[in-house]
């Protein structure tokens, strides 16, 4: 319940219900308070939820005006949830949370803007949403988890209107339903006390008797980081898909990574910003000089396939690493560029890569799926050096392996007219390859304003895992859809 009674708010926790009545950012440990800054970048930076409400309420603290049918659904889901059954909520098996649900999860997010793209980079399982600030018309070809957000500025307030939201998601952790007719309008602004306010308006005549509004607050926290969160690994470790409390502030990797600094070269860097799409796509890397150890692994996979097994790689287990985005370009990517960082948002596989400019790798590098990337300009070419991979990634669908000794150097060169981008990747991994080798991939400018979306964990069918060969044990399924008997519907069940 959120209840605005005056300028002073406080945080209360009642059984099953987190009430945010707080405006006092200072009451949040680690919070920083600053005066609001107007302008297109006033919202940028890392934000931490003041509260992670399990149930959304209206601005006056009431239950949203659900129609009769939706109220029955919501009541039943709350009953199930009280009994430990959250099978109505697909985040339980790591599928997409949707909007505004992801804003109510206890994870930080970062807002970055480059030109007329504004991105929310969320701390839960690599989700991001890209807001089109050019304000184009939207005609969703199919509904998506994050929908099709379009934004514009009204004075110091960013107004985001989102349509095309898939109805498989719930509005809050308690299971509030919505339809695909929903329009979500957000009004975001930084308040005088430094908090970020997101005032939500929900219009969905198929679910609610009238439009309603809610409000969420976030604060800055200098210790917070958005890390490469991989939900299936959390379930494999016996933890819930969504943590009940705020996620750890920072891993040693982020804490100790040197800050990127702007280049002091006289010439301005080429602009890589914007949406790109692959000129070609592929699933194989035929030129890889496999070592005996690498060849043995590939041969084992090929033999399993000949025996009729389905081969599972990191990609198919929804845990892909950055190397697969280098070798297997797929769907659109969005590049957000600043003097300090190049951020690359991938939709298939969903991933965020960050390249710290003119920086160095930290000494105590902690391994991860995406590694640690630093970049510098060599003339018109951006050189990206990446180390710190965790070895859970394959080069292609044949399962050509990688190890923690993997080292990549990407040379990204835009065409003189900016219409295309050639990326040459030199791969070194003495564990599985006899020598370094180089592959080339090409991208072209995309006119698209909204990225493709691929939610890998939506439907983990049991058939996919019944006769399977796993390149690594880690790729074994964490959740599977179990067929319903008779007229009972199917259900996704996760291992504990």
């Amino acid at each position: 319940m959120q209840q605005r009674s005056s300028r002073n708010w406080t945080v209360l926790i009642l059984p099953g219900l987190l009430i945010c009545i707080a405006g006092m950012a200072a009451c949040i440990p680690g919070a920083t308070v600053g005066a609001a800054a107007a302008g297109p970048d006033s919202l940028t930076g890392i934000w931490v939820p003041n509260a992670a409400p399990q149930q959304l309420v209206t601005v006056d603290g009431s239950l949203p005006p659900l129609n009769e049918a939706a109220a029955k659904v919501y009541a039943e889901r709350r009953r199930l949830r009280e009994n430990g059954d959250t099978s109505f909520d697909q985040t339980t098996w790591c599928a997409g949370p949707g909007m505004p649900r992801i804003l109510t999860m206890p994870y930080p997010f970062e807002i970055r803007r480059d030109g007329d793209f504004l991105a929310f980079i969320h701390g839960w399982y690599r989700w991001h949403r890209v807001v089109d600030l050019a304000g184009g018309a939207v005609d969703p070809p199919l509904p998506l988890t994050m929908g099709f957000p379009v934004g514009h500025w009204e004075s110091d307030t960013l107004v985001i209107r989102t349509v095309g939201l898939i109805d498989a998601t719930v509005l809050d952790a308690a299971g509030m339903p919505h339809s695909e007719q929903m329009t979500l309008t957000e009004r975001l602004r930084v308040l005088d006390d430094g908090r970020l306010e997101d005032r939500l308006r929900v219009e969905d005549p198929d679910t609610f008797t009238k439009a309603w509004e809610s409000v969420l607050y976030f604060h800055r926290d200098s210790a917070a980081r958005v890390t490469d969160d991989v939900c299936p690994d959390r379930i494999a470790d016996g933890k819930p898909a969504v943590l009940g409390t705020r996620s750890p502030a920072a891993s040693p990797l982020q804490k100790d990574a040197p800050d990127g600094v702007p280049s002091n070269t006289a010439a301005p860097a080429p602009r890589l910003s914007g949406m790109w799409e692959p000129k070609t796509f592929g699933f194989m890397v035929p030129e890889a000089p496999l070592s005996k150890a690498g060849r043995d692994m590939v041969d084992r996979g090929a033999a399993a396939m000949r025996d009729g097994k389905i081969m599972h790689t990191a990609w198919t287990s929804c845990r892909p690493g950055a190397i697969s985005t280098m070798t297997m370009p797929r769907e659109k990517i969005l590049l957000l560029q600043s003097p300090e960082e190049l951020t690359i948002l991938f939709e298939m596989p969903r991933m965020i890569r960050r390249v710290r400019m003119n920086s160095t790798h930290p000494n105590n590098l902690e391994s991860s799926y995406v590694g640690d990337s630093v970049g510098h300009w060599d003339g018109n070419t951006l050189v990206v050096d990446t180390l710190g991979f965790n070895g859970y990634a394959e080069l292609d669908a044949r399962g050509q392996p990688t190890s923690p000794r993997l080292h990549t150097v990407e040379r990204m060169t835009p065409a003189a007219d900016g219409s295309s981008l050639d990326i040459e990747v030199t791969i070194t991994d003495p564990e599985y390859y006899d020598r370094p080798f180089t592959i080339k991939r090409s991208w072209k400018r995309s006119a698209a304003r909204h990225p493709f979306e691929y939610d890998c964990m939506e439907n983990p069918r049991a058939e996919d895992f019944e006769n399977a060969y796993y390149v690594r044990d880690r790729y074994r399924p964490t959740c599977m859809r179990v067929e319903g008997e008779g007229l009972a519907l199917s259900k996704v069940v996760c291992r504990r």
Binding site: G308, G399, R461
Partner: protein, 132 residues
């Protein structure tokens, strides 16, 4: 543009698929009532209840494609609804279970929708690749 998108998504879908799982050289036709539609990634499915022995219903799991692929094949999310009576021509699973990948779905009025396997009709198998 639409053709390019269809080619792209077909390639994606095929590459996601194992050659091992379905026998593309065979055809099976089943008729029944739609129990459930899973419009999901990485693959969309229809659960179809088909008459078996007297008093028995056999539940078939039929992969139809994926949301992006099916949109390019002319489907909409509500093209098929629970309760619809349909006929499905499919490539069956090699393991003999009531499981397959859709070639063509036919409604009672004769209208048809293609599934991902329609585009590999007549071939023994799609190009090799890992599952998904």
């Amino acid at each position: 543009m639409a053709i390019a998108a269809a080619v792209l998504t077909l390639g994606t879908a095929l590459a996601h698929h194992s050659t091992a799982e379905f026998d593309y050289a065979k055809e099976v036709t089943i008729k029944g009532i739609v129990k459930e539609v899973q419009w999901t990634n990485p693959h969309s499915f229809i659960q179809l209840l088909v008459d078996g022995q007297p008093g028995e219903k056999i539940q078939w799991s039929v992969e139809i494609g994926s949301p992006t692929l099916n949109i390019n094949l002319g489907w909409r999310k509500d093209s098929v609804k629970p309760g619809d009576g349909v006929t499905m021509n499919l490539a069956p699973a090699r393991n003999g279970k009531p499981y397959g990948t859709l070639r063509v779905l036919t409604f009672a009025d004769g209208k048809q929708l293609n599934g991902v396997a329609a585009q590999v009709r007549g071939s023994a198998a799609p190009p090799s690749g890992g599952k998904k």
